[in-house]
Amino acid sequence: MKGIIVKELFISRKRFCITAATYFTLMLMWILVKMSCLYGNIGKYAGKGADEAAKTTYYFAVFGMLVVLIGFVINNTGSDIMSRWNIYQKTLPMTSKQLVGAVYLANAVTISAAVLTHLLMTFILCAIFGIGFKAFYLEVFAAFAVIVFFFNVMSMYPFYRFRSVKKGKLAASVLLGGIYVGLYIALYFFVNSSAQKAHEEIIRLAQEMNVKISKLPVTEDKLAEEYLLRDLGKLTDTLLDFRWLFLIGAALLTAGVFFMSAKALDRPMDDTKPAKNGEKGAVS
């Protein structure tokens, strides 16, 4: 298994270097923004002055930069097919579970290392920005690591199953696209529900205070924003209450995908429809 882990790291090293360079360059940028705020060079950013600009920059650096860490995810199943390594590894003295397990382990190691590095950077940012570290950051970072790991192993499965780069990419795109659409629809309903509640509240307030809507001290948009934040807060609380259930569910699903991937890898190379003309990785 160690050999496969080393192989995954070697193949991904260029991407790791680019991701690390991007991450630290952006972090430096956020720190420079803070220094700029100290000297008052950033004025009405977000319409509220230098302190607000610094705060916004801080939260963006702590949470937004997590997205950059996705570059440390390992998924070389496509390039394994292109290079015919997937055929060579069938001649190695390793079981399919060891092969898939090694890839999962490599992922776990790199994602964990990336998140730990980000945790360290967050402590540094807290010191520079003068904002206290909050315990829930740990939960957010851990949740991020678990979610990214889970979706990565899900997107690897189509490559093991179809042994075709085109089909693997298509299936992975459909899966991730489906999740994106699902989240978009969920957010749409959330926003719509908040807007609906805000609209009903505004009408009720106008009737109660016996004034026109335009004369009310609060706008419908502001109310909708508050309802949305409140609903998201409730959802977050619910998710946090049931976080162990989600963790167990994610672990079980990951285990399921692991066994399915190992089984797919175990199948004879000619057990899938052969790749089309000229596509690499086909067994002649």
Binding site: K2, G3, I4, V6, K7, F10, I11, K14, N76, S79, D80, S83, R84, W85, I87, Y88, K90, T91, L92, P93, M94, T95, P268, M269, D270, V283, S284
Partner: protein
């Protein structure tokens, strides 16, 4: 591993695809020898090799390697075999140093010293990416990797195809060196019969998924011959004695499989030695019987 006589034993292997069937193939690769596995393109050589390596599964039949079942004892077998393919199966972004780091953690008996010695011998750079290697360099790299973990069996699928004569010669010498150890065996598939004539101890011919001949190379070469005669003399030859005949306006050249018998039967006929190349060509045309 228990004692065994044959490095590979193939019994009744059948594999069916649309438009092609590997049909009831049986042959052995004796321990300590090189078996040349010959056939034209599409004959079923790669299918057979993939079955031995458990890359694909046969529909019927069995394969044993070192006396062990190739499916049940797969992991045990694969510690001691090395496969060499016609295309390099390593990522192009890796270099030889990286490959050493990877394979030394996979094979218990990997020797980095042996690997780098072969790299020096083949003049392969250790830090150059594989994507920049020529075809000959890629093949030498595969051979260096194959010979660095004390493999008892090399299985090569068209390993010398596309290489120039100088590189092919170098590689064949390496294989002869490898076979100095009596525990080592090689199964080498190729349609370049001149390579096999140089080094093979035994040969197996297949065509369109069917076994044609299997046996010691010298026996095969000694038993076959090219009977040359005029077209009028050809009429008097028993067609059961010939595999196929090439008919030209100048005469007839027919392959016989019982050279000494035909020499006695057709005492006036000229029967020249047949090369593996000739044997392959004439057998491929056996159904036509007469061709030009």
């Amino acid at each position: 591993m228990a004692e065994y006589t044959n490095a590979i034993e193939i019994k009744g292997i059948t594999k069916r695809y649309d438009g092609f069937t590997l049909d009831d193939l049986s042959f052995n690769v004796p321990k300590g020898s090189i078996m040349g596995f010959v056939g034209q393109n599409g004959a079923g050589k790669t299918t057979t090799i993939n079955t031995i390596l458990n890359i694909i599964r046969a529909d019927e039949g069995s394969v044993s390697v070192f006396g062990l079942d190739n499916i049940k004892d797969e992991k045990e077998i694969k510690k001691s075999i090395a496969a060499i393919f016609d295309e390099l199966p390593f990522h192009e972004t890796l270099n030889a140093k990286n490959l050493n780091s990877i394979l030394k953690r996979i094979f218990d008996e990997w020797s980095s010293e042996t690997f780098f010695n072969y790299l020096d011998r083949f003049s392969l750079p250790s830090k150059k990416k594989f994507g920049q290697f020529s075809k000959g360099m890629k093949m030498k790299l595969q051979i260096a990797a194959a010979l660095s973990h004390n493999a008892k069996l090399l299985i090569m699928d068209e390993a010398t195809t596309g290489l120039d004569p100088v590189v092919r010669n170098e590689i064949l010498d390496i294989f002869l060196e490898y076979l100095q150890n009596e525990e080592h065996s090689i199964l080498m598939s190729s349609h370049i019969t001149s390579d096999l004539e140089k080094i093979a101890d035994s040969v197996t011919f297949i065509d369109k998924g069917k076994l044609l001949i299997t046996g010691y190379k010298d026996d095969v070469l000694n038993s076959h011959g090219i009977l040359k005669c005029s077209r009028s003399d050809y009429e008097s030859i028993d067609k059961n004695d010939i595999i196929s005949a090439r008919i030209t306006e100048f005469g007839v050249e027919a392959l016989v499989s019982d050279k000494s018998g035909c020499m006695k039967k057709y005492s006036g006929a000229v029967i020249d030695p047949a090369a593996l190349d000739d044997i392959m060509v004439y057998y491929v045309n056996r159904n036509k019987k007469e061709w030009s």
